[in-house]
Symmetry: C3
Subunit: 315 residues, 3 copies
């Protein structure tokens, strides 16, 4: 494995292998000194063309726990703004000695494009509406541990609720959940679904009330205010009435059901109930798992030959 | 000690203990390799809702000398700007594994509030007009070493000059100096004093000329241009005439008297004389002591059980 | 050597010594773990009053390979913006314990000025139109290895093409190339040459076509759009026609000739041909060499007594 660009590139066996390695990364993260020398001397550069402090911080923390050096290439103050091409930027930073780029970009396919211009590994940290594979992996890990499903998701019912159309999280999650065997239902108004779902391994439902009692996992997506300006939503209040998780709907969840959200939440819109009052909420667990999953991804891409260094302590 | 929120929470004995530990941190800072492994694997996150490169850099340097990992959570590009609540931000970053947050916020009490949402230690690095406890500790340390007062400040005369009303530094300093036994005089125009001084262990004077010859420590506060716009000052020039430290007043200082300032200075306003020409100036010493005091604070909050690592060298 | 301010301060022997040390730094950079403990505990602060992610990243990478601590003092959010003087800023950061400042500033001479206010070493990373000495050193290193000229540049023909007038790179390169023995020709329209070239060890030519077939090194400078607004250039297209490197001119280069550029390139202006199609292009090699040269500079300034640590591995 050289790059992580899309969940599509991963077989079920590869996903399982990453999740098993994540178990080990969780163990490292729980040590008094949560650090191993596995990627000492490796240089991980984050290259975020869209701001995301949360995702960048998660990758940074993951890289540091493996003793990699990290660098944040601040696009806003770089030559990109002097009209330098993306290709020249990548070739230039690469020439300084980079082992992996963690890339977020507003254009679908940008991380794939970048692989042509560098020998470094590329991790897609979100590209347009296309993919966000580490989010899908951390979501799988959260379900796997939360419902004790080490062998796969056969028979699990997962509902993904909200703005699927504009969501790279939804696209990655659908593929990953389905590949592990789950049955996925998209729950959204028609305006927030893609024009075609050909080839998507999903069912569709337009009423949250119809599915809420039957799911093992309720995955709530963030709804963005811009959708009203686009004319896709009459109002956030109306969205919330039909698709928000409120107390009434939460009471209908099965006792074992998990509630998940990729963050940041819109309280009062898709999350009406305070998740602190939801025993099934795994929202903060997702964040914690995100660091461990990203450790597993970085180690898989960069750690060949350093497996013994996962055992020892950082010096 | 779990948090450092306010000088009010510290007894004289606790302040003395921190200052004694600071002695050791100064010794470490003067080594050829000024680094110990005391906080290896600990993660210190600075969370500055108000810009302050100076204070952030001081905490960063302190954390690195103790071998902690440091992370700067850039509020301006974070989800805080997408409307995420402070609570969700804190809970999310916490979930990634944070041992201490160093928090600066424009609202008094924000660091206290944050303690509810995380298991991490909170260090208040300045909240509104309320408190700036590490500044007070470094000021105490500077007086303690500058006037050789290891046993306390009994009998010392300290004047704090300037915009006390809007100053968290003044509030923290008054409490700390008084707790160690000093007599504190506030010197300011009425418009720059709080409406009530009930419970403040201070005397008040409206003329700097009346006290300048009698003080052991002259502590000059920064006066901000905004105070003129607020109508609290007729002009900076007039302020400077009455409350600025010029050559004439400097000549009346006792030979042993210290001159201090929390920075950044307004040259030509409260500091008319160049402090480089003031033998009693400890302004740069305050900055140097700031790093050592913050090492002592971070170690006190996070270093339980790692005392032996204060002795050895960083590996 | 305490500071690196200008190529003028370096003798040919000193330049050669830095380039020889760079050989060793290249060897370190090519190791599986490209890191030595040579500057452990040293604190290198970058202080960029002009944005340059590329140069800052290069210095950062260099410092980290030597195990120095690095800090980026973000001028834009610092007290400099509250009206603090440059001197107070430098004195304050210095007091926290800084071993070297890497300074970029729009004013010629700013790094020299700063040496008065701190005991730290100063590395000039570009000041106005004046100097950019590490760029000149990396350019020398690139020529030295690219043309196998370990003993000097005697007899080499180097053309520097473009906006010499506003270029610190050109000023530093001319001095360095000449000091090592090369014959330097400036190729530019009259409006982009300095009003006087008294004392410059150069020849001048106003037609690129006259020299392109005869050079060992063709050094293309970046042309900035602002020059049109200044009235110094009629149009970028016209500049490109006369001074751009296109296929026709590239075909006239000697087979061994090197093509260099300090970056970022303006494709379609001074670089019309894609450098990926130029076998003589050393543009990315320059970037890679930049890290190694900066390692050599930082070690020369800060590494006295730590020579043995250049050999071992970072712990």
């Amino acid at each position: 494995m050289k790059h992580l660009l899309s969940i599509e590139d991963l077989s079920a066996a590869e996903i399982h292998a990453l999740l098993e390695l994540t178990d080990h990364m969780v163990e490292i993260s729980n040590r008094p000194i949560p650090k191993v020398p596995a990627l000492r001397g490796r240089n991980v550069v984050s290259l975020f063309f869209e701001d995301s402090t949360r995702t960048r911080t998660s990758f940074d923390t993951a890289a540091k726990r493996l003793s990699a050096d990290t660098m944040n290439f601040a696009v806003s103050s770089s030559s990109v703004n002097k009209g330098e091409s993306l290709r020249d930027t990548i070739e230039t930073i690469s020439a300084m000695g980079v082992d992996a780029f963690v890339v977020r970009h507003k254009s679908s396919g940008a991380p794939q494009l970048i692989t042509q211009w560098t020998d470094a590994s590329i991790v897609n940290a979100g590209d347009g509406w296309h993919q966000h594979p580490t989010q899908a992996l951390l979501d799988c890990y959260t379900i796997r541990t939360g419902l004790d499903r080490r062998d796969g998701f056969d028979g699990l019912q997962i509902a993904i609720v909200g703005d699927v159309k504009h969501s790279r999280v939804a696209r990655s999650d659908v593929q990953a959940f389905a590949r592990l065997g789950a049955r996925v239902t998209l729950v959204a108004p028609r305006t927030l679904l893609p024009p075609s779902l050909d080839g998507w391994p999903v069912e569709v439902c337009h009423r949250l009330d119809d599915v809420v009692a039957d799911v093992d996992v309720l995955y709530m997506l963030r709804v963005q205010r811009e959708r009203m300006d686009d004319g896709l939503l009459p109002s956030l209040a109306e969205y919330s009435t039909h698709f928000g998780l409120d107390e009434r709907r939460a009471a209908r969840l099965a006792p074992h059901a998990l509630v998940m959200h990729p963050g940041p939440m819109n309280r009062g819109v898709e999350m009406v109930i305070d998740p602190a009052h939801l025993p099934g909420s795994r929202i903060l667990q997702q964040v914690a798992n995100g660091v461990a999953v990203r450790m597993a991804v970085l180690f898989t891409l960069l750690g060949q030959g350093a497996e013994h260094n996962l055992r020892g302590e950082a010096s």
